[in-house]
């Protein structure tokens, strides 16, 4: 009978080795690894031959030699034309990070304002926000950078006829001549005061949370913290005898003197990067707020919360959960897009290291590799941090 032909439970069915899915996947993966290894090996081999032919010594020895070119922007690090290529790298990285951090700061503010404005009951306001978003995100960023740099900033008056912005300084084709803070003796204490104030705010925040859990009473953490963070350094400022002074630029015959010069490349990049990214952030904020269920608002009202409290205690915390992950990727996009600085010769990592330094040394593999890995590291570290943050703050479900 047919029953006797059926394989019994403990006997393995006879399958050809090639039909065994496990064996097949092993073979396939082995083939893939071999193929990749061959590809990488042949690339390295070709590169070695080509470099030898071009007479370029490979290796990272060039990093310690003097660069021989100057840079027009380095807010924190020391740099002269006799600095090494390694210093060029650090200055480039510094300029990229400065650009990214300031860009993110403004993009967040503008983005949140536009995102909330988009949801406003006010027709004019929401239409303005709508068209802002649509226009900004549908025009290439590089074009926007050029518009600000060559279209707007390059047509400003020459330094003789600078535009006087009052307390902000002077604006002309050479950039913004802004007031500069000069930190004198004892200003370090103010910095410490600021750090202490931040630390104390965190402690108060923890204590307030515990107290609310225990008694239900709320403590105005925000206002206390703000008072501490602003108040303590100001208190120290007066105690230490006003160590910080401001140097205002003055208009001279040959243009503004003194103060701090912000180069036009930087202004153009900040404007373009923050306005462009803000359009994307606005959409994220809008989607985040819309994602909070209408019932949440109604429930808050039913509990007797006022509209302001509802927004602050109920809607925003829940919306943030939706907003944060895409917001992070926008921050990363901004950091990566800051590499477009190379188009208008702002000395960021791509421009000075992957551009000028590469042309000077010809070490294409090392320099491009270092540049790409740096951006990759920034991306990975940020997304790891955000994944951790996200996991900590996500809804705990059953």
């Amino acid at each position: 009978m047919a029953v006797t032909d059926m394989p019994s439970g403990d006997e393995k069915p006879k399958v050809k080795l090639l039909n065994d899915p496990k064996f097949r996947s092993m073979i396939f993966q082995a083939l893939l690894v071999v193929l990749l290894a061959w590809l990488v090996w042949s690339m390295i081999d070709n590169a070695a031959t080509n470099l030898q032919k071009a007479g370029i010594a490979s290796g990272f020895g060039f990093l310690s030699t003097a660069s021989g070119f100057g840079l027009n922007f380095s807010p924190f690090l020391e740099y002269t034309s006799s600095s090494s290529f390694m210093q060029v790298y650090w200055v480039g990285l510094q300029n990229t990070l400065v650009l990214a951090v300031i860009g993110i700061f403004f993009a967040t503010i503008i983005g949140f304002i536009m995102g909330i404005a988009r949801l406003s009951n006010n027709w004019v306001i929401s239409k303005i926000a709508y068209w802002y978003v649509e226009v900004m995100r549908n025009i290439p960023l590089l074009l926007q950078i050029f518009i600000w740099y060559k279209g707007v900033l390059a047509t400003l008056p020459t330094s003789k006829n600078s535009i006087d912005l009052g307390a902000l300084g002077f604006l002309n084709t050479k950039g913004l001549f802004a007031p500069q803070f000069i930190f004198g003796e004892g200003s370090g204490v103010m910095g410490w005061a600021l750090l202490i104030a931040i630390a104390v705010t965190f402690v108060i925040n923890g204590w307030a949370k515990k107290r609310q859990m225990a008694t239900g009473e709320r403590f105005p953490v925000f206002w206390t913290g703000l008072g501490l963070i602003i108040g303590l350094p100001i208190l120290m400022y007066f105690i230490m005898g006003q160590p910080v002074t401001t140097e205002y630029p003055t208009s001279g015959n040959f243009g503004p003197r003194g103060g701090m010069r912000v180069i036009p490349e930087f202004i153009a990049l900040i404007l373009a990067l923050s306005l462009y990214t803000a359009a994307f952030i606005a959409e994220i904020v809008r989607a985040g707020i819309l994602a909070v269920n209408r019932g949440q608002t109604e429930a808050s009202y039913a509990l007797g919360l006022r509209p302001g409290q509802t927004l602050r205690l109920n809607i925003i915390p829940q919306a943030m959960r939706v907003i944060i992950p895409p917001l992070t990727s926008q921050y990363l996009n901004l950091a990566k897009n800051s590499s477009l600085a190379v188009a208008i010769a702002y000395p960021d990592l791509t421009a000075v290291f992957a551009g000028t330094a590469l042309n000077q040394t010809g070490q294409a593999v090392e320099i491009i590799g270092m540049t790409m890995l740096t951006y990759l590291a920034i991306s990975l570290v940020t997304s790891l941090f955000m994944n951790w943050y996200n996991a900590k703050n996500s809804l705990v479900e059953r």
Partner: protein, 456 residues
């Protein structure tokens, strides 16, 4: 009790005619009350916004339309008195005759005048093929797709570059046969036979009927041969080197090639990332995360500076092709994530159902999972394309003369050099990009709505 009839005599026998709604609740006035002046803060905001609009809008209209110069032969038409022209010294507005004079260059780049009909043919084919593809109600989607993904790229390649690809052998050593076009076909035939043989041997070894698989392989190789033949045959077209390509056409070429190359690569990477095989999924994850983690401009630098180093001696790519490779690899990583999103949205039951009816991995992907997943992610694909379309402007940094590159180049021409020149050309460029990108994003929203309703 008997007078009940009288007590309800106040009930009306006929309806009261409807009254018009209160004047300040309906119509323009009501709408304004509700949407503009509902409260004091709202009124203040409205007035503030109107004031800002008053500051911006008239100035913009003056700049673009009323104050702008519309005709002229050279920079003198757009120059102020101080600059040697006739316009008042505080004049600042668009100089449109400059855009008019450069329009051909902006669209076609430096493509030879006598051959422009070829570019126009490509553009017409592109739009004729694309429009019905985008309209969900038009039939023949499969034929249309074949046209857009196979026939159109080959035809555009032949038309734009002139075809007549130089084919040399690649398999047999030179000692047996000197490099020639004939040798290429001999080599190709040998390669096809080897591949068919391997497929036949594999099918035999796994107890499957080899007939079908071998036929499919043979047909694929034959199609490939036809494609190569069409690309290599001499149609008598003047060859046009890629350094003469440029303008908006180059922007389109890069964007479309990028997306067409990225789609299959992206699908493979998405499948790889969701694969059970650790080596495959690890490779896919590293590949995807690497390209997503670096800025496109460094990728372009890499492909223009580093790629030539990695190639064996004697093999050279031209500048455009190198940029295209960079763009395709870069966007394939983004495409992979879009496709993966679609595949994750497919319920597990679909995978199990496919297995239950006895489909193998590739069959179930091809016939069950991917058709559904790709349909869901059409908006995502369009959005990736918008991003890619905007990012093509970056190739101007590595010296290709795309739309933005050629605009920047035109600024060095002294015939039209005025302070307003840069802004005029950028506004024109921004307007074109806005039209295309805004149109595409509208389309993606439309598709999203459509797909949404069909699933409910």
């Amino acid at each position: 009790m008997s007078n009940t009839k009288n007590s309800i005599s106040f009930v009306r026998a006929e309806m009261v005619p409807e009254m018009a709604p209160p004047i300040n609740e309906s119509g323009v006035l009501g709408w304004m009350r509700k949407n503009l002046f509902s409260s004091i803060p709202n009124t203040i905001l409205t007035l503030l916004a109107l004031y800002i609009l008053y500051l911006i809008i008239p100035g913009m209209i003056q700049w673009v339309l009323t104050d702008a110069v519309w005709s002229g032969e050279s920079r003198l038409a757009c120059a102020t008195i101080a600059q040697g022209g006739e316009l008042p010294n505080d004049w600042k507005a668009a100089c449109w005759p400059y855009v008019g004079a450069y329009l051909k260059l902006f669209i076609y780049g430096r493509y030879p005048d006598a051959e422009l009909w070829r570019v126009n043919m490509v553009l017409i084919m592109f739009f004729v093929g694309l429009v019905p593809l985008l309209m969900p109600n038009v039939g023949f989607k499969r034929e249309n797709l074949v046209f857009m993904l196979v026939i159109f790229p080959i035809a555009s390649f032949v038309l734009l570059s002139g075809g007549n690809l130089d084919l040399n052998g690649f398999l047999l050593p030179d000692a047996i046969m000197g490099p020639s076009e004939f040798k290429f076909w001999v080599d190709f035939l040998i390669l096809s036979l080897i591949i068919c043989g391997v497929v036949w041997a594999y099918m035999n070894a796994t107890d499957t009927d080899p007939k079908q698989a071998v036929t499919i392989t043979a047909i694929t190789m034959a199609v490939l041969a036809v494609i190569l033949f069409v690309m290599s045959v001499d149609f008598g077209l003047e060859p046009v080197e890629t350094d003469r390509w440029g303008g908006f056409v180059m922007t389109l070429v890069i964007a479309v090639t990028g997306i067409v190359a990225a789609l299959p690569l992206g699908i493979l990477l998405a499948l790889g990332r969701r694969s059970d095989m650790p080596a495959v999924s690890l490779f896919s994850v590293i590949f995807i995360e690497f390209w997503r983690g670096v800025p496109l401009i460094t990728v372009l630098f890499m492909s223009s500076v580093m790629l030539p180093l990695f190639l064996p001696d004697g093999v050279t790519f031209d500048k455009l092709l190198r940029a295209l490779i960079g763009v395709a690899l870069f966007s394939s990583a983004y495409m992979a994530e879009v496709v993966r999103g679609g595949m994750q949205a497919i319920p597990k039951g679909q995978y199990e159902g496919a297995m239950a009816v006895g489909l193998n991995y590739w069959q179930s992907m091809r016939m069950i999972i991917l058709p559904q997943a790709l349909k869901i992610v059409i908006p995502g694909i369009v959005n990736t394309f918008i991003g890619l379309f905007k990012d093509t402007t970056l190739v101007s940094i590595i010296g290709l003369l795309d739309f933005l590159g050629i605009i920047n180049l035109s600024h060095s021409d002294s015939t039209w050099a005025t302070p307003v020149q840069a802004m005029t050309s950028y506004v024109f460029c921004a307007f074109i990009f806005f039209l295309f990108c805004f149109g595409m994003s509208r389309y993606s929203i439309y598709m999203e709505d459509r797909l949404n309703t069909s699933h409910r």
